[in-house]
Subunit: 424 residues, 2 copies
């Protein structure tokens, strides 16, 4: 793990630009073809691509109630309990995000306001294979459910046996998913966007996926809404010499094990502390099952950055805009005001990032690749929309009519002015 000075600007740039896929045009062409075929041929195209990419020939795309019941019996009872408890924590946190419709009155009888309505139909993409995480199902579905979405459709690629992992089905059941379909990749995104014989179209698609899924989501954006396109995971830890080196090292590695492109950064004013964390990382790395992935990630995108002051640490962290920010300083709440850009903020020595991944309640779907500069954790706001409300009575309009007409004249829109004039 490199220890570098904050002045090493070039190194920092390489972090920040780590997700350029060079072969993107080639992928886009394939994605375009998949989208077009599904739009045209519907279910038939879905079955075709599932055979091609997932190597399984399906009879039915929709998961039956029986399959779900069977899955619930296959899942360890203890795990069902943990899923249920995680669900309750996630539900409680997201309920606090719920915005109310509101209005206010002014002048004689003016009423202005904002009505909140849930999006009616939402789709959730869940990756297959090893990246099929039941926690992601909870994190994507529960905010939609809290928002009041009336129909949640989940899509996920089947295994070669034509099945979906029982843990995934259990998580879907527990979090209130309404329909589950065995289809993945760009073809699943196409199905949710355009609809097929079996799959009704939705208005918004959320959830992580591989590069094909990500590019497909980008392409359908506008026809439907999408969440942010997730890049590789990131952690940034701000700590001084009072923090425990073992904790810091373990937390850096918990991100590094995700993905060779994952990025783990410690920012500290203490060179001494930096050196001991570096040793700890090397030590702990040896014992890790996912050692190869974590090692590559740490080598290429891991760094300990030495700063002159804690102030400077936050300036740098705001520039990085990390997905996860851990503040391992004494009285960590005192530094909240310095955080401008971060997906989730973990305060103090006993709030490690995995606590947030699974259990605490806040969402683990977070902005990556510096997008925390402009975007937010997935939440209830992603599943509602607002409508403005305007009510004037005759007297109210009469008072301002000349001003509005004057304004319409300035913009050359006479018809707009007429709509006021005709009323008096």
């Amino acid at each position: 793990m490199k220890i570098i000075e904050i002045k090493d600007n070039q190194f920092l740039q390489s972090f920040l630009n780590r997700n350029n896929y060079e072969e993107i045009e080639e992928i886009d062409e394939k994605v375009d073809k998949i989208l077009a075929k599904v739009e045209k041929e519907g279910d038939q195209a879905l079955l075709f691509f599932t055979e091609q990419f997932d190597h399984v020939s399906l009879q039915n795309i929709k998961v039956t109630e029986k399959e779900i019941e069977q899955a619930l019996q296959e899942v360890e009872e203890d795990f069902l309990k943990v899923l249920q408890e995680a669900k309750e924590n996630i539900w409680q946190f997201h309920q606090k995000q719920m915005q109310n419709s509101w209005f206010f009155n002014k002048e004689e009888s003016i009423t202005l306001g904002q009505k909140i309505s849930p999006i009616e139909r939402v789709g959730i993409y869940v990756p297959g294979g090893k990246a099929a995480y039941p926690s992601t199902v909870l994190m994507d579905a529960i905010p939609a459910k809290v928002a009041g979405v009336s129909s949640i459709s989940m899509v996920t690629p089947p295994g070669k046996d034509g099945k979906i992992h029982p843990n995934i089905l259990a998580a879907a059941k527990i979090s209130g998913v309404d329909e589950i379909y065995k289809v993945g990749g760009a073809q699943a995104i196409a199905a949710l966007t355009f609809g097929t014989e079996s799959i009704k179209p939705v208005s918004k698609i959320v959830g992580p996926g591989n590069i094909f899924v990500a590019r497909a989501k980008r392409k359908v954006f506008g026809y439907v809404d999408i969440d942010m396109i997730a890049g590789p995971s990131e952690i940034c830890i701000i700590a001084d010499e009072k923090a425990k080196q073992e904790f810091v090292a373990a937390d850096l590695l918990s991100q590094a094990e995700h993905d060779e492109l994952a990025c783990s950064i410690l920012i500290t004013p203490s060179l001494e502390f930096a050196k001991s964390v570096k040793r700890q990382v090397e030590e702990q790395l040896k014992q890790l099952k996912r050692k190869e992935i974590a090692q590559k990630s740490i080598e290429n995108y891991g760094a300990i950055i030495i700063v002159d002051s804690i102030e400077q640490a936050f300036t740098l962290s705001n520039e990085i805009a990390p997905e996860h920010l851990e503040i391992l300083l004494e009285n960590p709440f005192a530094y909240l005001s310095k955080v401008k850009n971060a997906g989730a903020i973990f305060l103090g020595s006993y709030s490690p990032e995995p606590l947030g991944d699974y259990f605490a309640g806040p969402n683990h779907t977070l902005p990556t690749s510096r997008t925390a500069k402009f975007s937010s954790p997935l939440g209830v706001d992603d599943f509602i929309k607002k409508s403005s409300i305007i009510y004037y009575k005759k007297n109210d309009l009469e008072k301002v009519k000349d001003k509005i007409i004057f304004f319409t004249e300035k913009e050359g829109l006479e018809g707009h002015g007429n709509s006021i004039k005709v009323r008096f």
Copy 2:
């Protein structure tokens, strides 16, 4: 203006699919080249494209304080007053949208919360020429200002004289825009995204523009955030025979005059009323300055749809998800619960759509082309982002540690488990 039955599904489809630009690939290629050149060559490329597209050779891209002062002197004093009053109404409404940071406590010492921060730097695109509306400057800039954005950069193409219309500069000044640049088109979007010598990069770009601007925004989405891509304007009016035919006709025409692709729909249960509105539209159309545009719009995308019941009117309107919905029924508030998808809702006979365009306070940048199914009026939420906050103390973590470790094992992420284990 056509009067049709609700059963005429084909006709409805043609409305809904009215913004397919066939030449989009050709445009995309041009946009790609413009984006790449600006990213590489900076200001020089901006000056090059401004000469090519706006036919003016500029010395400076940035509008000077002196130019702004001069503009303020050129604008009619009465218009400044109207702008100022509109600003106050818009400011008041948007302040009510402001979300607070919040937290709650549970168990022994757990603190969970959500911190709201403004996006730091935002860009606003303002079209040039006839579509340069000062009202749009107010509607785009004020929510950003209310949110606490620290720097708002406005871009707009100069006229052939190298100037920007004084009304636009005045609106920018009044609404608190920090920097103004004379550059339009895809090149302006590129400059805001990548930055140039004169223009600092921003994190979010909002505002309407032509097809080049729209496609460029789509392409940079992800590097920066964007607002929704606006399509042609729409109005949907639900009225029965108690409404005034003159009002309804004028309101339909106020949308139709915007654009040949604008869409004006009346939904009513009364064939008698439909006929009299149709006559009124024809009557009023004759006298309109923008008659040619409005006539084409009404012919191609105008319709009066006869429904069996008011209930059915709302079902249809929710399917259309109109940008503007006027409810011209008695006791209009009673129907609010039936509205699921609409950008802005205008209630009663004295709340015509142009009232919202200029003056009432709610934003006039609204979702079009059925996107009200999943998106909202531009507002303060578009200029803030959230960070989750998680704080546990040792005791709190200890209580749940085994459950989290169990969960990490189920997902095969041992390093995540270690980050918990190492603490005990």
